[in-house]
Symmetry: C2
Subunit: 346 residues, 2 copies
Amino acid sequence: MSEDINSIPHRRYNILTGEWILVSPHRTKRPWQGKTEKSGAVERETYDPSCYLCPGNTRSSGEKNPEYKEPFSFVNDFSALLPDSPKVEKHDGLLIAETEKGICKVVCFSPDHSLTLPLMEVEEITKVVQMWKKEYKELGETEDINYVQIFENKGAIMGCSNPHPHGQIWSQLSIPTEIQKKTKHLKDYWEKNKTSMLSKYLEQELELKERILLENEHFVALIPYWAVWPYEVMILPKKHYQHIGQLNAEEEKAFAEIIKKQTIMYDNLFGTSFPYSSGIHQAPTDGKEYPEWHFHMSFYPPLLRSATVKKFMVGYEMFAGPQRDITAEQAADTLRQLPETHYSKS
Amino acid sequence: MSEDINSIPHRRYNILTGEWILVSPHRTKRPWQGKTEKSGAVERETYDPSCYLCPGNTRSSGEKNPEYKEPFSFVNDFSALLPDSPKVEKHDGLLIAETEKGICKVVCFSPDHSLTLPLMEVEEITKVVQMWKKEYKELGETEDINYVQIFENKGAIMGCSNPHPHGQIWSQLSIPTEIQKKTKHLKDYWEKNKTSMLSKYLEQELELKERILLENEHFVALIPYWAVWPYEVMILPKKHYQHIGQLNAEEEKAFAEIIKKQTIMYDNLFGTSFPYSSGIHQAPTDGKEYPEWHFHMSFYPPLLRSATVKKFMVGYEMFAGPQRDITAEQAADTLRQLPETHYSKS
Ligand SMILES: O=P(O)(O)O[C@H]1O[C@H](CO)[C@@H](O)[C@H](O)[C@H]1O
Ligand SMILES: O=P(O)(O)O[C@H]1O[C@H](CO)[C@@H](O)[C@H](O)[C@H]1O
């Protein structure tokens, strides 16, 4: 029966958001004559004098970056959120708005302009994890910061305007939509079952092994059953942790290690520096208890068939709901067969 | 107070979906060194022998298009949904799925390969509107078709693989997520106020005039207060109609006329054939009553600053929620100042 459903058009339920994804497994053979992307595999210098993220360079704000040797964070020169917005609420008939406060930061992963996460050493990525922990804690403890969104846009196709290895953190007063949805469904499950929904889900996935990509002592990387993007991946801690602040030194390293392996897998898929947006979803920092939360890092990569053909989330997807062609299981099979060494080193 | 809120970071509430949009008006001056698109303003022939949508040509299914002179529709050769999927439900622990049925169609707007909606005559667009009506009715009356999504992906940047003027219709058994959200909020309002929420909203907008772009006897085009995309537009009928099936001949023409004017405005914005996904949201066709529904057509265009610089809905937007830089009012001001004649004809 499970096989049946996987070969005909079906919908899968996202247990975290309560939304459905349309899967069209028979449609994989659709020809593509549409837009392609440049493959853009350009070797970069380790230092670029025109890069505003390289050590020692001056940013557009006029500030000069220190000669940093480890991950370096600073307040975004073009922050979408500002810490000092006055509180104004507008409720004028059907026009409803309110001011929003927040702090936006940039996190440089490495001083080396030419690197990306899969090309960094586990020790270096561990320092990025430690920086995320520190920022989550410090921002989270700041007054009026109730949620901290850590993310990375990688690749020009994902709106990244500078190839220097870096991510961002947008933290804010209100709890964003995606977090509200996930909190609701995690909480419903927690209240009914007094156990983490994602622990239970992980148990089931580890038994089935159909969608598991990588596993170490503390983490698992898998394609979620309800994945939207063709090669979407979720990295889950085995322990039921609400947020990354709870990781100990060994777990930080295990997290770094699985991130490295996962991003190497991605680069090897199409022999390209694989674009994606990644993000960590975790408990809000508003001081309330969130026993139901189970933090996880997700990767949403746009590529579908090659380094140049992506999946477009357009018409139907925008107006009705997400749709995918290859199944989560097909994607997992493809990814699992890839070599463990980065293609540029073999 | 309304002015205050519009110049500082704020969130606006989407009354149709119950979700919030982050607006960062101060961020417009952010420099852009990232990805740009080709401007791609290529003149096309009226007939292309290699186009599978042109009259008389053979499609990849082997079928031959008729020598159509008016809008022409057919079942998609690569349908994401199929009408004969057997009913299977899967509920295995936290893995939940069910088969889905549906019919996907392609609608060629014109036999002329070189046209787009803004370049077609009002009379020709009226025939497209009539075709949409016919399809909504016929598909809607088909067994197991409970929702009919009419949409157009225009431009390569929106995943459109063929420039021949055409749209699509995906119709299906289940009610898609976006429609469920809108139905909920329209219904809540209807039950409380016994009036259409969108009629009330339109009244307020027509009084304020801040976000109105175009108006004729039967329709209004405006930038919704909660717009996500930089130049997002909504076309609303003045009468409280649940679906396009209710339009009379005069209203069909008024709809066609406002679509033409709106798409000319778009093309004139950056002097390019303006890409977008558009779609019509309307009452489900499951035989139930939907007095709360008020149909509307929306345009989600990706361009932000020029024919080559788009807004990326990536990291923060994917993980937290939508964000925009220019306000809806700024976008409306800009659009209103454009000439009424298509740039290619002046
Ligand atoms: O059906 P088409 O035009 O080949 O495909 C396009 O529209 C579909 C419906 O929005 C999307 O699923 C595809 O990603 C997009 O490329
Ligand atoms: O802040 P950046 O890197 O300039 O901008 C990028 O990420 C932001 C957060 O996801 C998006 O709002 C922008 O559209 C994108 O281009």
